[in-house]
């Protein structure tokens, strides 16, 4: 079954959600606002994973772009004293996109399990480089991110400014992502999942579709990583570790690939569940997540988002 692009009723819901999120800091504690911002930033990376998942490609190495984005911010702030988001964020996007273009040329030749394994290996290369080259990356200590500024102004409450920055950029990412998935290229990715040879017979190129998706996906993920670096205030090599990649894939599957909103909803749910599970039972939270993932795989293979669409599609 071909999944459709978001229909006309969704933008309305999206605008309503955005408005609700915009007034949220008035009512909620700083901690929850931070958690939502973090979830949305990571949600951008999950969206990157979903873009490839729609083509049947599972990237078990998207922490690569997450870490590239985060370390771009970390480097500028820590080594050059540039905390300006308007400099660091575009740079993070550009670097991620360039790296994705180069690696995409290699990866576009692979499918299935080998795509997963190769992307995993590439992200682990960055991980080992970040750990071993202490002078360059701060080693396992990582880098602290100080001096956040936006348009030359160093805000008194950086948390709140960052929240709105994340919100605006997430909205932009969702818009771009939605347009991408609804474009001919986006539909081509779904066709890649079902039958590549027919695509070639129809005169399109599966490798080009994969490469283009990979670059967009990498750029979006890099932005997510860069925002996370500002929010957390610290970057470390774990950002590139494979368990991080696994988490992104986890959330992508949890939310499903049916919509550009699914990754964000999935990401917010994940951060909250993880946060509370860690607090109440630190030794079984992974177990809880694993069981949850198994249930989704067995009973909701199209992700939790499909529950919502099925509910709406029901005849009234």
């Amino acid at each position: 079954m071909i999944e459709t692009a978001p229909r006309s009723s969704l933008p309305l819901a999206a605008v309503a959600t955005l408005a609700a999120l915009a007034v949220l800091p008035l009512f909620l504690s700083d901690w929850i606002v931070f958690l939502i911002a973090l979830a949305l930033a990571k949600g951008a990376v999950v969206l990157g994973v979903v873009m490839l998942l729609r083509g049947g490609l599972i990237s078990f190495g998207h922490a690569l772009y997450f870490a590239i984005g985060a370390y771009t911010v970390g480097f500028l702030a820590n080594r050059f004293g540039i905390g300006e988001a308007l400099v660091a964020l575009p740079l993070a996007i550009v670097i991620s996109a360039v790296v994705a273009a180069a690696l995409g040329l290699l990866l576009a030749r692979f499918r299935g399990i080998y795509f997963a394994m190769l992307s995993l290996a590439l992200s682990m290369i960055l991980y080992t480089v970040l750990i071993k080259f202490y002078d360059f990356s701060g080693g396992t200590d990582g880098l602290s991110v100080r001096g956040f500024a936006l348009a030359g102004i160093t805000p008194a409450h950086p948390g709140l400014v960052q929240y709105y920055l994340v919100l605006v950029l997430t909205a932009a990412v969702v818009y771009v992502g939605g347009r991408f998935l609804a474009s001919p290229l986006g539909y081509l990715m779904q066709a890649v999942r079902y039958n590549e040879i027919r695509i070639e017979y129809l005169g399109a190129s599966a490798s080009h579709a994969i490469l283009a998706s990979y670059v967009v996906s990498g750029a979006v993920s890099g932005l997510g990583g860069a925002l996370t670096a500002y929010l957390v205030g610290h970057v470390s090599p774990e950002f590139a570790f494979w368990v991080y990649s696994g988490d992104f894939v986890f959330v992508a599957v949890l939310g499903g690939t049916g919509s550009v909103f699914a990754p964000l909803v999935g990401s917010v749910a994940f951060e909250f569940v993880k946060n509370y599970a860690l607090k109440f039972s630190p030794h079984t939270w992974q177990l809880t997540l694993g069981v949850f993932l198994l249930l989704v795989i067995y009973f909701q293979p199209k992700g939790l988002w499909s529950l919502l669409t099925r509910l709406r599609a029901r005849p009234r």
Binding site: K132, V249, T284, G290, I297
Partner: protein, 298 residues
């Protein structure tokens, strides 16, 4: 001082360890078409059970030869209990689905098993270096080496030979080969395919646990020990070609020697070299050294 013998002997020791952890992955993938992300956890369970058995011995016995059969027993126990349990309960449902689904299912199992290990054995590290000290030091070419890694090499060679014998010289092995080639036809010819699946996964689990149990004396057994193992094993099976045990063996030796050389010559790139080798090999041969080329679906 000549570093060549150091590189060779360290490399072979590391290669033996890699073979024990990756042979099971590639065998399971060959039969079930599932890349087992939870393999590192099975390795950890083997290590924990082996450590528990040794710690159950009276003090001086912990440094005796009795420990070695106990480590083997631990691996067999894990293979016979945890393996079949996982296959029956969780994997059976996803055979024939996308490879991606198998990957996700075993990732979920990885998350679950990591916590199960913590719940059973706690978070304190276990130290059982009795068997390691039993083997003392060996002098080769004028350099003193720990003796225990040579035992590990022996275990890896015996395990590899046994696996080869089982696949090529037994009825079970022939049935496995049939199932690998054509599941449906194998079933039609009267082979009990679900039973073969079960036994294959149990055998793979045994290999992972064997690797874990015999590694336990060399390191502190602690939570998270399986997490980094799995990516290194993936690199090896990627280099060798998924599903090829001979390929895994060759991949181990290449990676083992390369890493030992890196440790001696360029210590900064020690870990890096594994993944770089994998990327290089896959660029040259996308299906790995011994992997079969798969046709794309029409």
């Amino acid at each position: 001082m000549n570093i060549l013998p150091i590189i060779l002997i360290d490399g072979i020791g590391f290669a033996s360890w890699l073979f024990l952890v990756s042979a099971g992955i590639t065998f399971i993938f060959g039969v079930l078409r599932i890349l087992n992300v939870a393999h590192g956890s099975l390795y950890a369970i083997g290590a924990y059970l082996g450590a528990t058995f040794i710690l159950g011995l009276p003090g001086q016995e912990q440094r005796s030869w009795v420990t070695l059969p106990l480590l083997l027993l631990a691996a067999v126990a894990v293979g016979l209990t945890v393996g079949p349990l996982i296959e029956r309960l969780f994997l059976r449902r996803v055979y024939g689905a996308d490879e991606v689904i198998g990957l996700l299912t075993t990732f979920a199992l990885f998350l679950i098993l990591e916590d199960v290990v913590r719940l059973i054995w706690g978070i304190e590290p276990y130290l059982v270096d009795g068997p390691f000290r039993l083997f003392g030091r060996v002098r080769v070419a004028g350099v003193a080496f720990a003796g225990y890694p040579f035992l590990l090499t022996g275990v890896a060679i015996v395990a590899g030979l046994m696996l080869w014998l089982v696949i090529h010289r037994t009825s079970f092995g022939r049935q496995v080969t049939c199932v690998i080639n054509d599941r449906e036809m194998a079933g039609a010819l009267g082979i009990n395919v679900p039973r073969i699946d079960l036994m294959a996964f149990a055998l793979g689990t045994f290999l992972a646990a064997l690797g874990g149990a015999f590694t336990a004396p060399m390191m502190s057994v602690e939570p998270g020990m399986g997490v980094s193992v799995i990516v290194q094993a993936f690199a090896v099976v990627g280099i060798g070609g998924l599903g090829s045990i001979g390929g895994a063996a060759l991949g181990c030796i290449v990676v083992g020697i390369a890493r030992a050389a890196a440790v001696q010559l360029f210590p900064e790139i020690e870990l890096f070299v594994i993944y770089a080798l994998m990327v290089a090999v896959l660029l040259w041969r996308p299906q790995g050294l011994f992997g079969a080329i798969e046709l794309r679906k029409i």
